[in-house]
């Protein structure tokens, strides 16, 4: 059967993938916690970020880890603009409209990428893509280990931003009570846009961490975003520790299901958890009352 070493390796690999999943889910949960909407464009924006990493690598030879520096602020700005100029005005403040606007955005972005880059799958050929680190009996992929560390670091930074800074305080105030926040002089539309920008910045970071070991094609975001939805629902909509723990957990579940059930059925474990959590406890592990 399966030796303990293989299972241990699957668990560790799952944790490493899970950390990046958590980062993607973090953007989603942040936007949900503040704007109370599910951003269906999250996956398409992730695809866009991954293509951005690929473009700067191919065009300027910029290392994906260095690409973090220009792409994170760029995607923050992009997210800010999208919320301020498209989602906000188009949805007239109605929740189900926001759902549809983000769906429309995701279709438009995804297919614009398809039209621009065709459905070819692209990878980066970095010289460290296949390097491994020996860790006791386990051989771990070096770029994925870096991704794990960086994803945890970004989660902590984001948590500090929300809990320690004035911007974070304003975001939390709007999340709790937007009318009250606007009464004490907080610009709610600005906070919404900042939050959406932060969500997109998380995606840029995730894309930079993923690209050394992963590939990109115009449909890739869909696969990630369904996993991210699961994590967000599991961890509790709007909860940052929930996103981190949920991400790690789902990463391990996916890795083990892949090991036991094979690749084609591997993802089914995730969706069954998703449906089960939605039906039994839609507020998740750490979520406040819906």
């Amino acid at each position: 059967m399966y030796s303990p070493a293989i299972i241990a390796e699957a668990v560790v690999n799952g944790l490493m993938t899970g950390a990046v999943y958590a980062l993607i889910a973090l953007g989603l949960t942040l936007v949900y916690g503040v704007l109370h909407i599910i951003n269906f464009a999250h996956g398409a924006l992730l695809t866009a970020a991954m293509f951005a990493v690929w473009i700067v690598y191919e065009a300027f030879g910029l290392d994906p880890y260095l690409a973090l520096l220009p792409l994170t602020p760029l995607f923050f700005g992009l997210g800010y603009a999208v919320q301020r100029l498209v989602i906000g005005p188009a949805s007239h403040g109605n929740d189900s409209n926001i759902l549809l606007v983000t769906l429309g955005l995701s279709i438009a972005v995804e297919n614009a990428l398809l039209a621009g880059f065709r459905s070819d799958t692209r990878t980066l050929n970095t010289d460290y893509g296949f390097q491994v680190v020996e860790f006791g009996p386990l051989l771990l992929s070096k770029p994925r280990l870096i991704g794990f560390g960086a994803a945890i670091l970004v989660t902590v930074l984001l948590w500090l931003l929300l809990s320690r800074t004035d911007t974070g305080k304003a975001i939390r105030a709007v999340a709790k009570e937007k009318f009250g926040a606007s009464l004490v002089g907080i610009d709610v539309a600005h906070v919404y846009a900042v939050t959406f920008g932060l969500g997109c910045a998380c995606l840029a970071v995730a894309a930079c961490l993923l690209m050394p070991t992963f590939y990109v094609n115009p449909r890739i975001g869909q696969a990630f975003v369904l996993v991210a939805f699961t994590i967000v629902v599991l961890g509790g909509m709007g909860s940052i520790p929930g996103a981190l723990l949920g991400g790690l957990f789902i990463g391990v579940v996916e890795s083990l299901c892949g090991l036991f059930l094979g690749d084609s059925l591997g993802q089914i474990g995730i969706f069954l958890i998703f449906i089960l959590v939605l039906l039994v406890r839609p507020t998740g592990m750490f979520g406040a009352k819906a």
Partner: protein, 322 residues
Amino acid sequence: MTFRDIVPTVVLIALLAFVPAFITANTVLNFLVFTLIISLAAQGWNILGGFGGQFSFGHAAFFGTGAYAAALLQARLGINPWIAFAIGTVAGAAVGWVIGYLSFRSGLRGSYFALVTLAFAEVLRILANAATFTGGAAGVLIKLDVRPSNFQFESRSAFFWIALALVGAVLVLTRWIECSRFGAQLVAVRENEAAAKALGVDTLRVKLGAITVSGAVTAAAGGLYAQYFLYVDANIAYGTWISVEAILAPIVGGLGTVFGPLVGAVALHGLGEITKLAAGSVPGIDLMVFGGLLVAAVAFAPEGIIGLLRRSARSKGTARHA
């Protein structure tokens, strides 16, 4: 509902029935049949989403069930395709009831309902893609055997008429729902579920009724698809593309209106063809336009094309009075 209520539908369908008399080009008929199939799937979505306000993002679950049932029952078990088609429609209703029972009983609504329907469709897609009974990733091929008793026809016009008849039947059904007590309760749930409940509407039963009918209609579209193209695989039947199509058409055409899905499907796919002609065969270009159109429709025409037409008719009317 009186006969007067369905006069516009009958007239429209009767007029459309003459289309194959003027158009014989196969590519155009292909386009029309495909558009009618999309319209049918969207009409199913509209009953639940438009009238009931429950936005499903996973109508592929029903479309795929109808398609797979039609294909598998005849390819594996040798059941007559017409009967397979009917069973597929009923299976779609059953899947609708089960998904509805599970999610509505747990009180899921809004974004949560959208997510859970999406997840159900994905689970079905993964299962269909992996199981051997469904042919796995290779899909199911329906054997070519052109006989009317076999639901296969020499000319594409026959398929056009069948699709048109189904679209017409669902138009009448939708109109009946709109006029009925059930429809009024459904709209009450959409507008304010708590208030509807307080007034004694059994909201769970009403929503369950809507998702069951909705599932049956969309499954019929799936069955028709399988029968027309004689091939089904998991990414066609349970793919997100059809969930998206089913949402887009009613919203662009007119959410919660009888003709909205049909108008929307024709407008979208007409525009899609024009875009393809203009931009060449760039993949995804038509869907890119659809996505933009969805955002624009929500922003500027929340009542869709039907709403715009009504508004312009009304403003003309008042101009005449003044």
